[in-house]
């Protein structure tokens, strides 16, 4: 089975650097970049949506990427 891919975006203007996403993510997709959370590598994301649901500041969005079966 092909691995599903997800696009992870952090809206840094709304991030308050509480580091919930950094510590909750099971795949360590997030790192702290100076003051704000930023995405290290979206390819590691398994789409559990824990970060999106637990981010209190509406700053994280995770969307599945539509992949072509022929690829």
């Amino acid at each position: 089975m092909k691995k599903k891919k997800f696009k992870v975006v952090v809206k840094q203007e709304w991030c308050k650097s509480c580091e919930i996403c950094v510590q909750i993510c099971p795949k360590k997709v997030f790192v702290m970049d100076h003051f704000y959370s930023s995405v290290r590598d979206s390819n590691d994301c398994i789409g559990c949506l824990q970060c999106e649901k637990l981010c209190p500041d509406f700053a994280i969005t995770v969307t599945p990427i539509e992949t072509n079966d022929n690829e």
Binding site: I20, Q23, K53, P56, D57
Partner: protein, 270 residues
């Protein structure tokens, strides 16, 4: 899902502190509304004063920001004037049980068809971390720096005893359960309460080191100390000390206020 469709984007980012759990509960409410497919114009969101009272400012429904503790009183009038509205009250622990304690228990007694989400962070966060009726015994706050001598209110058991139709409790860490309980609460006819343990790193975490200083530590503390209500039944009081008992406390079908009121109206015409 897209949360932005329900938010007033010009008011964002919100004023809640970093790591505050209130945003997580608001998200859960918005997710549930999205799943149920309710129209924005058919929802009324009402709050009192406090950190939780900021919620209506950020959402794009019919909203009311009322006086301290009187959110349920305003909601009662709103529901009776327009029974088709989905009336949701968001209230804090101090707002629901200290200043508005009477409104809370009497609305539960009448079994009025409103949904109450209690943001329980166990402290008065906005005014500087004073001790609230739900601050656990011997925990510290700015007004009880050597420990709180009082015992805490159990909001869920209070609502259950007062006659609510649906009462459930969850924590901000357990978001999947929160979604499930809030959905059941919204669909229930009668007074339904979801008490969500929130985390207040700025006021509560600062004073009580064992929960952790930061929001994420407090979330993990909730994860480690949560006990489901089914398991809690077999545990002694000593074992339950400091634990967070969560689950569905009551789910019963009893006639609600509007139903009884229509019977009274019919009787008066005979």
């Amino acid at each position: 899902m897209d949360y932005l469709q329900y938010l007033r984007k010009d008011k964002m980012p919100h004023i809640w502190c970093d790591g505050c759990g209130h945003g997580i509960i608001l998200k859960s409410i918005l997710r549930t509304i999205d799943t149920l497919g309710w129209e924005k114009d058919n929802i009324a969101l009402i709050s009192g004063i406090g950190c939780s009272g900021r919620t209506p400012g950020y959402v794009d429904f019919n909203t009311l920001h009322t006086t301290h503790g009187r959110a349920i009183a305003f909601a009662t009038g709103l529901k009776l004037a327009n029974p088709k509205l989905h009336v949701i009250v968001v209230t804090g622990d101090g707002d629901a049980t200290a200043i508005g304690g009477n409104h809370f228990i009497h609305a539960a007694r009448r079994n009025l068809d409103i949904n109450v989400i209690v943001f329980n962070n166990r402290i008065y966060g906005m005014t500087g971390g004073q001790c609230s009726p739900t601050t656990p015994t011997l925990k510290k706050s700015t007004t009880t720096p050597y420990g709180n001598p009082d015992s805490a209110f159990d909001i869920s058991r209070l609502a259950e005893a007062a006659g609510a139709s649906y009462v459930a409790r969850t924590t901000t860490f357990h978001v999947a359960k929160m979604d499930q309980y809030i959905k059941a609460c919204f669909l229930k006819k009668g007074f339904s309460v979801v008490e969500a343990y929130s985390n207040c790193p700025t006021s509560y975490g600062k004073m009580n080191k064992e929960t952790g200083r930061r929001g994420v530590d407090m979330l993990l503390y909730q994860k480690d100390n949560m006990v489901p209500i089914e398991k809690a039944k077999d545990m002694s009081d000593e074992e339950l000390q400091g634990k967070l008992v969560t689950g569905v406390f009551v789910d019963r079908n009893i006639p609600d206020y509007t139903e009884n009121y229509s019977i009274v109206k019919q009787n008066s015409k005979k």
